[in-house]
C-alpha cells in the first residue's frame, strides 16, 4: 500500500528512497516551486502566517520526535522554545555574535536543558513525566524572568534582525526564505531520523520500554537522546521566533502554548513525519481564519455590536478540535494515508 500500483522495489536503495517514482519527484518539485515563489504572490500577512507556520512546524517536529516517536510526553515545550529564543537573543544582542552562532547555540542550549529535564524519564513515565516537564516550563520561565541582567526580565530584550553573510533578513519575504529552508531541512532530518537505528530505538521504547531494554536498547541513552533532539529543534524554533518578532518577553511562552503543541501533534498524527505539518497547518490556519475572517465576517453580516462575535472564535476553535478528535482520532496523517491508498488503487479500489 506504500507504493503506487505496479511499482516494485528491486534494490535496497529503491526500498529506502523517500521519493520513489517520477510522479513523487514531480510533485516535490512542484511543491518546492510553489513554496519558494510564494513571496511573489503573497502579501506580508500571509508570509508572516507562513513564517509562523514554519517556526511552529520545527518546534512541533521536535515534540513529535520526543512524544510521537519515543513516547516521552512533554508539556514544557514552550519553555524549551524560550531557552532557544533567549539564548539567540542574548548572544546576538548583548554579545553581538552572528545569527548563525546564535541559532546553533540556541539549539544546543535548549537540547542540553531538555536533557537535564529528561533525566526523570528513566524513572517516571506517562502523566508523571508530563508533570515533571510542566515543572520545566515553570522553572525556565522563572529563571528567564528573574535573570534580569542577562535576559532583561519582564522588560524584555530587543533582538536584532537575522543576518547571514551580509544578507539581513528584515522583511517577511526574506525571513520566509530563511525559515522555510530550515523547516525543509528539519522535516527531511526528522524523516530520516525515524529510519535510523536511533529512530527505531525510539519507537521500540515507545511501544514497550521493558521489551526494548531486553533487546539491548539503552533506555537512558535513547530517552535522553530523544529529549536532546526534541529540545534542540525547539531551540532552533525559538531562535527563529526571536528574530522574527524582534523582541522577546517571557509572556510569549505560556503553558497554553505548550498544550497547544501537544494538540497539534495529536491532530496531525503522532509518530509520523507528516503529522506535525498537518497539525500545525490545521491549528494555525484555523486560528487565522477565525481571527481574520470568521469573526469580522459574522459581525459584518449580522451587524452585531462591536466585539460581539469575538467569543465565538474560541468556541469555534474548541468545537473544531473536538469534532476532529471524534471523527479522526488517529490524526490527519492517517486520513492522508487512506487518501493515498485510495488514489493509488483508483479506479480499481475495493
Amino acid at each position: 500500500m506504500g507504493l503506487p500500483a505496479g511499482t516494485r522495489n528491486y534494490s535496497y536503495a529503491q526500498d529506502m528512497a523517500i521519493f520513489r517514482t517520477k510522479t513523487h519527484w514531480a510533485m516535490l518539485l512542484a511543491l518546492l516551486v510553489i513554496l519558494f515563489t510564494a513571496p511573489l504572490y503573497c502579501g506580508n500577512y500571509w508570509l508572516s502566517v507562513a513564517n509562523l507556520i514554519g517556526i511552529t512546524i520545527i518546534a512541533a517536529t521536535g515534540l513529535n520526535i520526543l512524544t510521537g516517536y519515543c513516547g516521552q510526553l512533554s508539556i514544557g515545550h514552550a519553555g524549551f522554545i524560550a531557552v532557544g529564543a533567549y539564548t539567540s537573543a542574548v548572544l546576538t544582542s548583548r554579545l553581538e555574535l552572528s545569527f548563525l552562532v546564535g541559532l546553533i547555540a540556541a539549539g544546543f542550549a535548549a537540547g542540553l536543558i531538555g536533557m537535564i529535564f529528561g533525566i526523570p524519564s528513566l524513572r517516571v513515565k506517562g502523566f508523571y513525566l508530563a508533570i515533571s516537564t510542566i515543572a520545566a516550563q515553570f522553572i525556565i520561565i522563572w529563571v528567564i524572568s528573574h535573570w534580569t541582567s542577562v535576559t532583561g526580565g519582564f522588560t524584555g530584550i530587543s533582538v536584532p534582525p537575522a543576518s547571514i553573510g551580509g544578507i539581513t533578513f528584515t522583511s517577511q519575504a526574506s525571513l520566509f526564505y530563511l525559515i522555510m529552508v530550515i523547516t525543509v531541512l528539519v522535516v527531511f532530518l526528522a524523516k530520516n531520523l525515524a529510519r535510523t537505528r536511533a529512530g527505531r530505538a525510539f519507537v521500540a521504547i515507545r511501544d514497550n520500554d521493558l521489551a526494548a531494554q531486553v533487546m539491548g536498547i539503552n533506555l537512558f541513552r535513547y530517552k535522553l537522546l530523544a529529549f536532546f533532539i526534541g529540545c534542540f529543534l525547539a531551540g532552533i524554533a525559538g531562535s527563529l521566533l526571536a528574530h522574527w518578532i524582534g523582541f522577546m518577553s517571557v509572556e510569549h511562552f505560556s503553558i497554553m502554548d505548550s498544550i497547544l503543541y501537544i494538540g497539534m501533534i495529536i491532530i496531525g498524527g503522532l509518530g509520523t513525519t507528516i503529522g506535525p505539518i498537518f497539525g500545525v497547518l490545521f491549528i494555525r490556519l484555523l486560528q487565522q481564519w477565525i481571527t481574520s475572517y470568521i469573526v469580522p465576517g459574522l459581525e459584518g453580516i449580522f451587524t452585531l455590536p462591536a466585539g460581539f462575535a469575538t467569543g465565538i472564535g474560541p468556541m469555534v476553535f474548541g468545537l473544531a478540535i473536538i469534532l476532529f478528535l471524534i471523527l479522526e482520532p488517529r490524526g490527519l496523517a492517517h486520513r492522508w494515508q487512506l487518501f493515498k491508498a485510495s488514489y493509488r488503487l483508483w479506479p480499481f479500489s475495493y
Partner: protein, 409 residues
Amino acid sequence: MNWRKLLKIAGIVSLALMITIIPLLSAGCTSAEEKTLKAGFSICYTGVAAEKGRPMGNGKLDCIKYINEELGGVAGYQIEVIWRDNQYDASKAATIINELMDKGCLLFTTNSSAMMTASAEIANRAEFPGFAVFSAPALTNPPQHIYAQMPDYGDDWAAFANYYLENIWQGEGEPKMAMHLLNNSTGYGARDAAVLLADELGIDIVAMEEHTTTTISEIESLTRINALNPDIIYISSTPQPTSIIIKDAVDLGMYPGVTIGLGHASITSELIEFAGADAEGVYGVYPTVKWGDDVPAMAKMTEYCQEYHPDDYGNMDYITSWAEGLIVAEILRLAVENVGIDNLTPQAVEEYGFKKLDNFNVGGLHGPVSYTPGDNRLSKAVRVFQIQDGEIVPISGWVDAPLIPYEFD
C-alpha cells in the same frame, strides 16, 4: 445512514461554510470604490487579559462608530476600522500587525504593552506608526515609531509617589514602601521607575513582591511584607489579582492601616466588583476622568456605551479607549489636512499626524495630547483617585508625569 456519518457530514459542511461563505459574504459588505481612512486595532478581546481588553475594544469601536455616523467621519472621509482579536497571544499579534500593514492601515493601536512588544519591532522596522493605550516604559524608550497614549506604568508610580509624599504621608523620615507587582511589563514598568527615582524622592523601597495574573492567594507574600512594617503598599497589576491582594491584606489585618496605592491598570470598576467593601479607601492613579464627570465628551460616550455596551458603563477602561478613538481621528484629520488624502502613507501620518498633535483636547476625558520631540508619550498627566462608598472618586487635579530618563538596552 448512521449517526457517525451524519455527524461527519454535518461537521464537514459546517466547516466548509465557515471557511468559504462567511468571508465571501463579509467581503461584499464594504465598498471598494469609497476612499476611507484605514486604522488597525489589535485588541485582546479574549484570552487572559480580556477583562481589560473587552471594554477597551468596545470603547474605541463605539467611538469610531460615533465619529463616522454622527460627525461624518474625519475631514469628510469615513474611518474604516480593521480590528483583530489578538487573544493576548504574541505570535498572533505578530501576524496581525503584518495583516494591518497589508490591508493599507495608516496607523495601528494595541490595548496592552505586552501585545505592543510583540508588534513593535515589526512596526518599527516598517516605520508603521502606532500607539499603545497602556504602555510600559521600554516601548517608547528610545523613541521610534511607537507611541504611548497615556503616561506609562512607571509614570504612575512617580506621580503617585509625589502625591503621597505631599498629601498623605504624615510620618517622620522616609516612608517605607512595599511594591506588589504583576510579573509582566505592567509590574516591571513601575519597578523600573521606583528603582530609578525612589532614593531621589526619599522613599525607602523595602520589598518587591511579584504575583501572576492567575494568582489565587497572596497571603504568603503579604506576610513577608507585613514583617517589614511598610507604610504603603503600591500595586501595579490588573483588577483581579489586585482584588486578591487587597482582600488578603484585609484578612491579615494589614489594611486598613497601611496605605494602598494602585497603578492605572488596577483601578477600575471591576476592582470594586471583585474586592467589594475591602477596597474602600484604596488610592490609585488613573489618567482619565471618571464616569459622570462634567466634561464635553461624557454625554455622547455615555449614550453610546448605554446603547451598545451597557455592561461597560462604569468601567474606566471604556473611557480610556473612547479617548483613544478620538486621538486616532485627530491624528488622521491632521494628516489629511496637511498632506491630502491621496498622499497618505503611514510615514506621512506619523510625520503630519502624530507629530503635529499639539494640546489636543480629548473631550476632557484625559489630559491634553501633544507630541514632544524625544518623548513619545502623547498625554503626560494623571489624576489621583480614591475608592469611597464603592465609587472611584477623584481627589486631585491633573498631576504632571515628567519624562523619566530610562536607559534600556
